[in-house]
Subunit: 342 residues, 2 copies
């Protein structure tokens, strides 16, 4: 059991609290083999909660942390309490090498700031980026980055994001040569900012890497399934991600309103319930959970604040895949390869 990796879980973070976090860890233990858990937070509360999950006790240890990062706490404030908060202690377990990855459903800004400070940026990476899997019509999700860590970027940053995104796609989605594209406002060569065009030129020449650069992708093709990694600055990425989430909810709300508009439609809704349930499942953020802060000297996974038991388990499963794939080392390798070709 010495080779079984430990995953540090911030047991206190997230809107739904300890009970859902523990249930998520327990589900992850049942769904994925070969993981052990460091449950970080209030020791008495965790011990109490574990009574509901006897199977988990043998595969976990509790690491006490008396404090909690608030959901509206400023990153600069959270950093000062890194030694006593469940989030800070979970990240520190990765730094100390006791855990192979940390997972938290807490405050994103605080998590990014603490992770960056504790784990440092990898050599060869100028700026880390936030990446997450999104649903598509295709066989696998699409990984998008950066989703908000860097408001402004240069061509070099975008190229590094592409390399990291491709490693993430290979690690978590079992793709040998992920198709990588840059988000742009047109598909022609002369479209977009100078940074994007320059990044495209570098990626077109970087033939030695296990990825397939396919050029530009526009906002209307994010979910078509014809690309595996979408690279962009953190401002547009955040806008695109939230617009996609908001539009999916908008269409869902319109559909609900339409189904409620007549007795006939209500009956139709009841009969087609399995279909709308299928739709809901496909779009459920808990099925695609697990944003990751790429480019650091350790793996830190951000689960949705509102993640359910399923969502927490999915995020932990993603963390385990990254650990097993040796994500951090593979990013280092690919970066040195592009350093030679670019």
């Amino acid at each position: 059991m010495t080779d079984t990796p430990w995953i540090a879980v911030d047991a206190m973070g997230g809107d739904k609290g300890l009970t859902v976090m523990l249930a998520g860890v327990a589900q992850a233990r049942r769904r994925y083999d070969g993981m052990r858990f460091l449950l970080v937070g209030d020791e008495a509360a965790i011990r109490d909660g574990l009574r509901q999950h006897p199977g988990l006790t043998a595969n976990s240890e509790i690491v006490h942390a008396p404090d909690l990062v608030a959901s509206d706490e400023k990153p600069s404030q959270a950093i000062r309490r890194a030694k006593t908060t469940s989030m800070g202690v979970a990240i520190n377990l990765v730094k100390q090498g006791r855990a192979a990855a940390a997972v938290s459903s807490g405050n994103t800004g605080a998590l990014m700031a603490m992770a960056k400070l504790a784990l440092r940026t990898l050599p060869g990476i100028d700026r880390p980026a936030l990446a997450a899997p999104l649903p598509t019509l295709g066989d696998n999700d699409v990984v998008m980055l950066d989703l908000g860590a860097n408001t402004e970027v240069d061509a070099r940053n975008l190229v590094q994001f592409a390399v990291m995104g491709a490693v993430y796609a290979r690690a978590t989605m079992d793709l040998a040569e992920p198709r990588v594209a840059l988000l742009n406002i047109g598909s022609e060569d002369q479209k977009g900012t100078g940074e994007i065009r320059e990044a495209a030129a570098i990626l077109r020449d970087a033939s030695g890497l296990p990825m397939n650069f396919t050029g530009f992708v526009e906002g209307d093709r994010l979910s078509r399934g014809d690309v595996d990694v979408i690279v962009c600055d953190g401002f547009s990425g955040n806008i695109a991600l939230k617009t996609a989430e908001g539009t999916a909810r908008f269409v869902g709300d319109l559909l609900k309103r339409a189904f409620a508009s007549s007795v006939r439609s209500k009956i139709g809704f009841l009969i087609s319930r399995p279909a709308t349930d299928l739709l809901r499942h496909h779009l459920d953020p808990n099925v695609h959970n697990g944003a990751v802060f790429l480019g650091l000297g350790g793996i830190v996974v951000k689960s949705h604040g509102g993640a359910t038991e399923l969502g927490v388990a999915t995020a932990i499963g993603n963390a385990a895949k990254m650990v097993r794939a040796g994500l951090t080392d593979r990013i280092k390798q690919d970066l040195s390869a592009i350093g030679q070709t670019a």
Copy 2:
């Protein structure tokens, strides 16, 4: 009839060609009062097509233009043929004062370039912007700008976009004080780029204008109906617009797939058909058609390339509303007001 405005219509532009354009003009004539039309394009073909629309003949004149702007033609190329193409001639009719507005379903880049060259930017406007109405859950559409005319902008540009967007919302949606917000990646004051924060500061102080600046809006709230005008740079605006379109189509495709997944679901679909038709109508781009290039010395409306008869009529109706509201003069007025307060 001397006061009845003339609308110049590029009868040849758009993916669906002359027949749909003429049918759209005919529908606009029936739906909206007090408009006359200058139908620009191949005279013989238009005369022939008009036989299907006897009611339109009395309210229109044909203006011959032998050439056509191709859908993939570069703007720089199209400009050189402005005197002979239906698009170029339609814009020139506005310049000459013979038409109060021009409407085209043709090549967007070419239309913007020709309109800017022929009609010039309004005094006080540094850069024109592309604006369009999008569907929401609320009582009216939301106007979004810029949608791609300006890849990079400064605070001054954003403030001018806000003023123009508010005038457009008052003119086309009968709102006395439109709620205006800046697109951003968070709602807190310190979020986003320096340009956005600076624009917010100026708009917060500009209390004399008939608009209500509500701060920042994130991508997930575009269609909630709690804001009437959303202001952003052309890169993020284009990404957000296309992501919204793509996601709506994605959810629709998933829904179709889900409905087709079992006999029970197929039956449910048939019964709830009126509900899904209602949804389709609400999201139909033809119901919200009519992007406009704001900030020029004349009104130029861009209809979707694939606009149907309904879409063309909607775009023409929007053009007529802008003409009646005296859009161009009102932009000039509001700009001078913000010049005094800012």
